[in-house]
C-alpha cells in the first residue's frame, strides 16, 4: 500500500504501521518502504513517517541516511514551524554519522529569528550530547548563547539542556541569573521546575546562609528582639530577588512547581520566611494520591530536619495536614503518616481538636486491616509521650483506654508502648501496672503478655500483692505459653524470688522445674542460669550475692525515635531524596559558602545602565524592574553615604551588597549616637530585664513547654521532669536547677544523661539563667528608682535625638554621661550613690553578659569570652573596656596570646590587651582591652594569635554597653535627678 499513489492508502498503511509500533511489535522490516515516503506531500503521512523514522533510524542507520537530505532542505524552509520540526526529527535520529550535520544545524538554529526554532535547538542539544559527548565544548558555546536569550519560550528548554550537558558550569549562569529570575513567572510550568531546581543549586553556591546567625547562638534567643536588629548578615539583593520571584509560583496549579518552590524556600530562605510554603504543601495533599505520596515524604523530611522551621505554623499546619490526610489520602501511606506524626504530635496532642482527629484514624484503623497502621499510630503516640513529659499522662491514659479495646492487636501494641513509657516513671503508675496485671487473663498476644510480665517483674515492689498472684497464674499456664512469654515468666519468678522470697519460693522452684524440661533450649538454659544464680547452693557463692543487682538493676528507659532522619542530605523533591539513594545524574546540593563570592559577576549591563540611569529613558524590558529598584535605592543611598563614617569609594558591586545595611546602621546611629541615646536604650533594656524578671522566668518556662523539640534536641531526651512540674516549683527550682538535677536520684539514669548533655550543649544558656537570677535578686531593691529615672530619661532623650554627631556639643554630653553613670550606680542598688566614686566600684558584678569571641571547638581548645565590664578604661576615657576571659581547655599550653591585624571602621580605635605570654593547659586568665567604637555598633575585627595559630574574631558592642564614666557628688547627682 505504501507504494500506492493514493495518499489515503498510504495513510492507512502508515497508520497500521504506527499502531504496530505503539503495541510494541517490530516493524523494522518495512523501513525501506517507509523511508521512501519521507518527502510525501500529505502532512499526516509525513508525520507518521517521521514517527516511524525516529523509532527505527537507530537500528537501520544506513537507510536512515537517505532521509537526511529532506530534513536539511526543511531546515532552510521559510516557515519557522517546518524548520523547527525538521530540526526536531533530525536531532531525534540517533545516527552517529550525522553528528556534524546536527551540530551545524543546531548552531544555525540557535541564532534563528524565531524563538520557537531556538527552543527546538535547545531541545536538540541534549540529544546530540547523548549521541556524542565529544561535542560538549561546542555545545556549551551554544548553550551560553541560548542562555542569553530573552524569550520565555527558550528559557526552560535551555536550562534543561544546561542541566544535562554541563551542570557544573555554574559560571554560565551568573550573567543570566537576574534575567532568569525575572522571567521565571512567565516560563511554562515544566521549564519553571527545571529553572527553580537549577537556581536552588546556584544560590547555594553564591549566597550566604541566611540562617547562620539564628542557628548559632541560643542564648541570644532570649533577647532576640533586641539583637535581631543588628544582625551582621545582610541578604544579597539577588538572593532576595530569587525568593521574591518564586513566591507567587506557590500558587501554581502544577504540583511539581509548588514542590520546587517549596524546596527552594526550604533550602534557601531565612527561617522566618519558610512558613509560607506550609499552606501550599497542604494544598497539594488534596491532589492525586501519587502526588500525596511524594509530598508527604518531603514534608516528613522537612519537619524532622528543621524542627524549628514550622514552629510558628506547626499548629495550623499539623491540623490541616492531618485533616487533609484523613480526608484525602488513602491508607496506603500509613507508614509515612507514622513518620509524620512524630514531630507534629508533640505539640498537638493536648489540643482538643487534634484529639478529635486522632480518634478518627483510630476508629478507622480498627476497621481497617492495615496492621502496620495500627502499630504505627500507637507507637507514634508513645513517642509523643516520651518526648513531651507534659502530655505523658494524657497519652498513658489514652493508651490504657485502648487496653480495653476488643481488638487484640491494638491492645498488644498499646501494652508494648505502655511498657516503654512506664519504664520512665514507674513510681507514679502502679495502678496502671495493676490494671495491666489484670489484663494477663485476657490478652493472648505473646508479645503483650511478655511485656506485661516484664513490667510486673521489674516493678514488683510497687505491686507487692499482685505480683505473686500473677506468677501463680502464669505458673499454672506455663506449659501452654509461647517461648517469649515463658522467658518472661522465668524472669518474673527470679525477680520475685529475690524481693519476696517468702511467698514465692515454692512457685519459683516449680516454674524452674517446668522450664528445666522445656522443649526450647533457650528456656532450659535460662532456667539453669537463674537457678544457679538465685538459689543459694554451696557452690555459687560469689555470683549469687550480685543476683539482685543483676536482675533489679535500673534499666535505662528506651528512647523512641523516628526512623526518618537520615535522608536530609539530598535535595528535597528530588528522586534521590525519595528513594534515599543517589540517582544517576543527581547534582549534589552544595553547602553554603563561607564567604559570599563576588556578587558583581551577576552584574550584566544593568549596572552600566545604572550609572547612566538618570539620563536613560529606555531600559531593556527585562531589566526594567530590577534597575528601577536599584535606582530608587541608589537615590536613598546618597545622603547616607555622605555622612556615614566616610566610607569611601567602594565599587559599584560592593554597594549593591550594602544597600540594605546602611539604613539600618543609620538607625542605630540615631539610637546610639552621642553616648546618651545608646545608654538610654541599654538601660531600658536592663530595666525591663529587671522589672520583668518574673515574666521572663515565666516566659522561659513557656519557652520550654512550647518548644520541647528544641530542647529535646539539645538535651537529647525530653525535659520531662521540668515541664511536667508545676509552674511555681519550677520557678523556685530554676536557680538551683543544675544542682537538683544532678542530685535527684529518683530520676535515674535518664536524668543524669540529660544533665550531662545539658551541661555540654546548653552550658551558656543555663549559666546565663543563673546569672540573670542573681542579677535580678541584687537589683531588686533599686527597681523603683530606676523607674523614676527612666521616665525622666525619656524626656531627656528627646533633646539629644537631634544630636548624633560623634563629638557632641558640650551642653548635652555632661548630662547624658552623668545620667548614664547614675543609672549604673542605681543598678548597683544605690549603694554607691553617697560617697564612693572610685572607678573600681562602678562595676556591676553580676549583671554583665558574656559574649563568645572564640568557641572552644573552633579555637582548638582555646575559648575566649568577652564582656563589657562597664568600667572606665584607664588609658583613654573614650574607650570602652572589654574584659576578655581566656580559657585553655586544650592539652597543650597556649603561648604568646596577642592580637594582630586589627580592621576597623574609620574613627574607631583599639588598645590591645597586653600580650599573655603563657596560658597553661586547663588554666584561665583575663585581660582587658579598650575599644573606642566611636558610638557606632560596628564590629571591631581582629586576629587573635597564639604562638601557633591565628583566629579571626570580632567584637560587636550591643547598644547600651557604650558608656562613658563621669564623676560627681551625691548632691550633683540628686540635682540632676531632680531635673
Amino acid at each position: 500500500m505504501l507504494d500506492s499513489n493514493k495518499d489515503s492508502l498510504k495513510l492507512e498503511a502508515m497508520k497500521r504501521i504506527v499502531a504496530m509500533i505503539a503495541r510494541g511489535k517490530n516493524a523494522s522490516d518495512l523501513f525501506p518502504a517507509v523511508v521512501k515516503n519521507v518527502a510525501c506531500k500529505n502532512i499526516e503521512v509525513k508525520k507518521l513517517v517521521y514517527v516511524y523514522l525516529v523509532r527505527y533510524a537507530e537500528e537501520q542507520q544506513d537507510l536512515a541516511l537517505l532521509s537526511i537530505s529532506t530534513f536539511q532542505r526543511g531546515l532552510k524552509d521559510p516557515n519557522q514551524l517546518i524548520r523547527a520540526s525538521a530540526l526536531r526529527v533530525l536531532s531525534s535520529i540517533r545516527v552517529t554519522i550525522i553528528v556534524p550535520i546536527m551540530m551545524l544545524a543546531i548552531k544555525e538554529a540557535a541564532s534563528d529569528m524565531s524563538p520557537y526554532v531556538r527552543k527546538t535547538a535547545a531541545h536538540a542539544i541534549p540529544k546530540l550530547y547523548s549521541l556524542d559527548p565529544d561535542q560538549k565544548d561546542q555545545l556549551i558555546e551554544v548553550i551560553e548563547k541560548l542562555l542569553a536569550d530573552k524569550t520565555t519560550l527558550v528559557a526552560g528548554s535551555v536550562v534543561m539542556a544546561f542541566e544535562e550537558v554541563c551542570p557544573e558550569r555554574i559560571d554560565l549562569i551568573h550573567k543570566n541569573y537576574r534575567k532568569l529570575c525575572n522571567l521565571l513567572i512567565d516560563v511554562e510550568e515544566w521549564g519553571q521546575v527545571v529553572i527553580i531546581n537549577m537556581l536552588t543549586r546556584y544560590a547555594r553556591t553564591q549566597f550566604l546562609n541566611p540562617n547562620i546567625n539564628v542557628s548559632s547562638d541560643k542564648e541570644k534567643k532570649a533577647e532576640a528582639a533586641a539583637l535581631a536588629k543588628r544582625k551582621p548578615y545582610v541578604m544579597d539583593p539577588d538572593h532576595r530577588l530569587l525568593l521574591r520571584n518564586t513566591k507567587p509560583l506557590l500558587q501554581s496549579r502544577n504540583a511539581a512547581v509548588v514542590m520546587a518552590v517549596a524546596q527552594l524556600y526550604f533550602h534557601l530562605a531565612p527561617k522566618a520566611e519558610v512558613g509560607v510554603i506550609a499552606k501550599a504543601l497542604v494544598r497539594l495533599l488534596r491532589s492525586h494520591s501519587e502526588v500525596q505520596y511524594v509530598v508527604l515524604q518531603n514534608v516528613a523530611t522537612m519537619t524532622i530536619k528543621r524542627r524549628g522551621m514550622f514552629e510558628p505554623y506547626l499548629k495550623t499546619f499539623a491540623t490541616q495536614l492531618l485533616y487533609s490526610f484523613y480526608f484525602f489520602c488513602s491508607w496506603r501511606f500509613s507508614p509515612i503518616l507514622y513518620k509524620l506524626f512524630n514531630p507534629f504530635e508533640k505539640l498537638n496532642i493536648n489540643n482538643k481538636k487534634m484529639r478529635g482527629c486522632f480518634s478518627c484514624p483510630r476508629q478507622t484503623y480498627i476497621k481497617s486491616v492495615d496492621k502496620d497502621f495500627v502499630a504505627a499510630t500507637i507507637q507514634a503516640i508513645g513517642r509523643c509521650a516520651t518526648n513531651i513529659g507534659e502530655v505523658r499522662d494524657t497519652c498513658l491514659n489514652g493508651l490504657v483506654q485502648l487496653l480495653s479495646n476488643r481488638d487484640e492487636l491494638v491492645v498488644a501494641e498499646s501494652v508494648v508502648v505502655i511498657k516503654k513509657l512506664l519504664q520512665m516513671q514507674p513510681e507514679k503508675h502502679s495502678d496502671i501496672i495493676k490494671h495491666m496485671a489484670k489484663l494477663t487473663d485476657n490478652i493472648q498476644v505473646p508479645m503483650a503478655r511478655a511485656s506485661i510480665l516484664w513490667l510486673i517483674g521489674e516493678y514488683c515492689e510497687h505491686v507487692p500483692k499482685i505480683a505473686p498472684d500473677v506468677l501463680r497464674k502464669m505458673a499454672k499456664s506455663f506449659t501452654n505459653e509461647e517461648d517469649i512469654v515463658k522467658l518472661q515468666i522465668l524472669n518474673l519468678a527470679a525477680k520475685l524470688y529475690l524481693t519476696n522470697s517468702k511467698q514465692t519460693k515454692l512457685l519459683t522452684q516449680y516454674v524452674l522445674n517446668l522450664a528445666k524440661y522445656d522443649q526450647n533450649y533457650d528456656i532450659r538454659d535460662r532456667a539453669r542460669f537463674i537457678r544457679q544464680l538465685i538459689v543459694p547452693t554451696e557452690k555459687s557463692g560469689a555470683l549469687s550475692k550480685y543476683a539482685k543487682k543483676l536482675f533489679l538493676a535500673l534499666k535505662p528507659a528506651p528512647v523512641l525515635e523516628s526512623p526518618f532522619k537520615d535522608r536530609d542530605h539530598f535535595q528535597l523533591g528530588s528522586l534521590s531524596h525519595l528513594l534515599n539513594a543517589k540517582a544517576g545524574g543527581y547534582q549534589e546540593l552544595p553547602d553554603w559558602p563561607e564567604a559570599a563570592p563576588d556578587p558583581s559577576v551577576r552584574n550584566v549591563e544593568v549596572f552600566s545602565l545604572l550609572e547612566r540611569v538618570t539620563t536613560l529613558t529606555s531600559v531593556p524590558e527585562w531589566t526594567k524592574c530590577s534597575s528601577r529598584e536599584k535606582r530608587k535605592e541608589k537615590k536613598v543611598e546618597k545622603p547616607f553615604y555622605s555622612d556615614s563614617e566616610g566610607e569611601s569609594g567602594p565599587t559599584e558591586s560592593a554597594d549593591s551588597g550594602k544597600f540594605r545595611r546602611t539604613p539600618t546602621r543609620s538607625r542605630f546611629r540615631l539610637g546610639g549616637g552621642g553616648g546618651g541615646g545608646g545608654q538610654k536604650e541599654g538601660v531600658e533594656e536592663r530595666i525591663q530585664e529587671a522589672g520583668a524578671r518574673k515574666r521572663k522566668v515565666r516566659l522561659h518556662f513557656c519557652f520550654c513547654v512550647l518548644i520541647p523539640e528544641i530542647r529535646c534536641y539539645a538535651l537529647n531526651i525530653c525535659p520531662s521532669e521540668q515541664s511536667s512540674e508545676s509552674d511555681e516549683r519550677k520557678r523556685a527550682r530554676k536557680s538551683k536547677q543544675q544542682k537538683s538535677e544532678s542530685e535527684s536520684e529518683t530520676d535515674g539514669d535518664e536524668e543524669s544523661d540529660s544533665e550531662s548533655s545539658q551541661s555540654e550543649s546548653d552550658d551558656s544558656e543555663s549559666e546565663v539563667d543563673v546569672k540573670n537570677k542573681k542579677a535580678v535578686q541584687s537589683k531588686a531593691p533599686s527597681k523603683p528608682v530606676i523607674k523614676e529615672t527612666k521616665k525622666e530619661k525619656k524626656e531627656m532623650s528627646l533633646l539629644d535625638l537631634d544630636d548624633f554627631e560623634p563629638a557632641p556639643s558640650p551642653q548635652v554630653t555632661p548630662v547624658n554621661s552623668f545620667l548614664s553613670s547614675s543609672l549604673v550606680t542605681d543598678l548597683e542598688g544605690l549603694s554607691l550613690s553617697d560617697s564612693v566614686l572610685s572607678p573600681a566600684a562602678i562595676s556591676p558584678s553580676g549583671t554583665q553578659k558574656c559574649y563568645e569571641l572564640l568557641h572552644r571547638i573552633s579555637g582548638e581548645g582555646l575559648s575566649v569570652e568577652y564582656c563589657f565590664s562597664r568600667q572606665p578604661f584607664g588609658p583613654d576615657a573614650n574607650m570602652v573596656a572589654v574584659q576578655m576571659h581566656f580559657a585553655n581547655s586544650a592539652a597543650t599550653d597556649a603561648k604568646n596570646l596577642h592580637m594582630e591585624d586589627v580592621k576597623l571602621q574609620s574613627g574607631m580605635r583599639v588598645t590591645d590587651f597586653p600580650e599573655i605570654e603563657l596560658l597553661p593547659a586547663g588554666e584561665t586568665t583575663t585581660a582587658v582591652m579598650g575599644i573606642d567604637f566611636c558610638d557606632s555598633t560596628q564590629a571591631a575585627n581582629f586576629q587573635l594569635c597564639t604562638h601557633s595559630r591565628k583566629f579571626f574574631v570580632s567584637i560587636q558592642p550591643p547598644v547600651g554597653e557604650l558608656m562613658k564614666p563621669v564623676f560627681m557628688t551625691e548632691n550633683e547627682f540628686k540635682k540632676e535627678q531632680g531635673e
Binding site: I43, A124, P126, S157, S252, R332, G585
Partner: protein, 418 residues
C-alpha cells in the same frame, strides 16, 4: 528526563508503548508487575519503583497504569504531574480515558504523545495547542474523513506554541461569544455527637467555559476576595494583579478549563447547611438496636438543600434494618452493610426522619462504636463561603460577550459522628 511510557491495563497487559529516546525493552515492566502482585490492590502499588538501571514512576487512573521509565535524576512530581497531564489530555480528546478508547485511537494517542514530549522534556502540553495540531476525533469528522480521505492532523501548523500564551490558540472565531463561570464549593466537615463542628473547611473551584472570539483579556473581580485563604491558578492568571488588586486578570484558554481553586479554612466562615439529630444505639444483650435520624436545615442562606443522601456503614453484626422514613426511601445492602437513605429535597416545614430498629446477629458482641453518617447534598445557586463574583470585564475585543456565573455548593466529605 522521561525515557519511555507504557500504558498497562488492570490485568497487566502492556497495550501501548512510546519511547522518546532509545528503545527500552518492555521487560523493564516486570519489576512493576512484581510490585503489583505484592500490592494486591492496584491503588497500593508504590508510585515510584527502583530497578537496577531504571526508575519506574507510575500513576493509576481509570483502571490504567501510566508507567514512565526514567534513567536519571528528575523531580518525581515532575513526572507524576506529566503523567496526569497525559491522562487529562486523553480525557479531553476522547471524553474518556479507558483502555477501549485508547485502543480505538491508538494512532492518535501515539501522535499526541509524540507532540507532548521531545527527548523526554515536555514540549506542548496545553490541550489547546495539541488540538490544533492533532484534531480530536468527532463522529462527523470521521465520516467526512472516510469519504474524502481527509485527515485528523491539522493542515495548518500550530501557532499557539509560538506565542507567549501557549494555552490559547490563535484565530478563534465564534458567532455566539459567551463566557460562563461555575463557582463550585465543597464542604468538608466533621460534626461530633452533639452536633458541634469538629472540623470544617471549604474547597472551592471556579470552572470556566469561555468561547470568545479573538484575544480577549478578561478581568474577573470578587465582592469579597479576602475570604479566600489559599488559592492556586491556571497559568493564564496574572499573579501580580492578584497580589496587588485581588482581581483575576487573564487571557483565557479556549473552551473549558479550571480557572482557579481556592480554600476557605477559617472555621467560623464555614457555614454548616444542615443539622442532624441522630440516635443510634445497640442493646448490650438483646439482638437489636435502634436508629433515629432527623435532618433539618441550619445555615442555608434561604436556599433549598437538594439531593440529600445519607450513607451509613453499619457494623458487621447488623443483619437487617426495619425502618420507616417520613420522606424518601432507604436501602440496606446486606453484603456491604451499607445503609443508604435517599432523602431528596429537604423540606424545612416537615423535617425528614428515619427511625426503626436494627436487628443484630444474635450472640455477636455489641459493636464497639456507632457508625458515622456520611452526608451528601447539593445547594444550587449558593456558594456557601459567601464568595460572590462582582463583575467580569473584557478588554482587547470590541464585541459584547454573554456572561454568566453559576454557584453550586455540595458536600465533600461531610461526616457526622455518632
Amino acid at each position: 528526563m522521561i525515557h519511555s511510557l507504557f500504558l498497562i491495563n488492570y490485568t497487566g497487559d502492556i497495550f501501548l508503548e512510546k519511547h522518546w529516546k532509545s528503545v527500552i525493552n518492555r521487560s523493564v515492566c516486570d519489576y512493576f508487575f512484581e510490585a503489583k502482585e505484592k500490592a494486591l490492590e492496584p491503588e497500593n502499588v508504590p508510585p515510584i519503583l527502583q530497578t537496577p538501571h531504571h526508575y519506574l514512576i507510575n500513576i493509576y487512573r481509570g483502571k490504567l497504569f501510566f508507567l514512565a521509565v526514567i534513567q536519571t535524576e528528575v523531580p518525581p512530581l515532575f513526572v507524576i504531574e506529566f503523567l496526569h497531564k497525559v491522562a487529562d489530555t486523553l480525557q479531553d480528546y476522547f471524553g474518556d480515558c479507558s483502555e477501549g478508547v485508547i485502543k480505538d485511537n491508538l494512532v492518535t494517542v501515539y501522535e499526541i504523545l509524540e507532540e507532548m514530549l521531545d527527548n523526554g522534556f515536555p514540549l506542548a502540553t496545553e490541550s489547546n495547542v495539541l488540538q490544533e495540531m492533532i484534531r480530536p476525533p468527532t463522529i462527523l469528522r470521521s465520516v467526512v474523513n472516510t469519504l474524502t480521505g481527509g485527515s485528523n492532523v491539522g493542515d495548518t501548523l500550530p501557532t499557539g506554541q509560538l506565542s507567549n500564551i501557549p494555552w490559547r490558540r490563535a484565530g478563534v472565531k465564534y458567532t455566539n461569544n459567551e463566557a460562563y463561570f461555575d463557582v463550585i464549593e465543597e464542604i468538608d466537615a466533621i460534626l461530633d455527637k452533639s452536633g458541634s463542628t469538629v472540623f470544617a473547611e471549604i474547597q472551592g473551584v471556579i470552572e470556566a467555559c469561555v468561547r470568545l472570539t479573538g484575544m480577549p483579556d478578561l478581568t474577573l473581580s470578587f465582592m469579597n476576595p479576602r475570604l479566600l485563604d489559599d488559592v492556586s491558578f491556571h497559568p493564564c492568571v496574572r499573579f501580580k494583579r492578584w497580589e496587588s488588586e485581588r482581581v483575576l486578570s487573564f487571557i483565557p484558554p479556549d473552551g473549558n478549563f479550571t480557572l482557579m481553586t481556592y480554600h476557605v479554612s477559617s472555621q467560623n466562615l464555614v457555614a454548616i447547611p444542615v443539622y442532624v439529630k441522630q440516635n443510634i444505639s445497640f442493646m448490650e444483650t438483646g439482638s437489636c438496636g435502634r436508629l433515629d435520624i432527623t435532618i433539618g436545615p441550619k445555615q442555608t442562606m434561604g436556599k433549598t438543600v437538594e439531593g440529600l443522601l445519607v450513607t451509613i456503614h453499619m457494623p458487621k453484626a447488623v443483619l437487617s434494618a426495619n425502618l420507616t422514613a417520613t420522606q424518601g426511601n432507604y436501602t440496606y445492602d446486606l453484603a456491604t452493610k451499607v445503609l443508604v437513605w435517599d432523602v431528596g429535597k429537604l423540606n424545612p416545614q416537615k423535617l425528614p426522619n428515619l427511625r426503626g430498629s436494627l436487628s443484630v446477629q444474635s450472640g455477636a458482641p455489641k459493636p464497639e462504636e456507632n457508625p458515622s453518617l456520611n452526608i451528601d447534598m447539593k445547594i444550587q445557586q449558593l456558594a456557601i463561603s459567601g464568595l460572590k463574583v462582582n463583575r467580569l470585564d473584557m478588554y482587547g475585543e470590541k464585541y459584547k460577550p454573554f456572561k454568566g456565573v453559576k454557584y453550586l455548593t455540595r458536600a465533600g466529605k461531610f461526616q457526622v459522628r455518632t
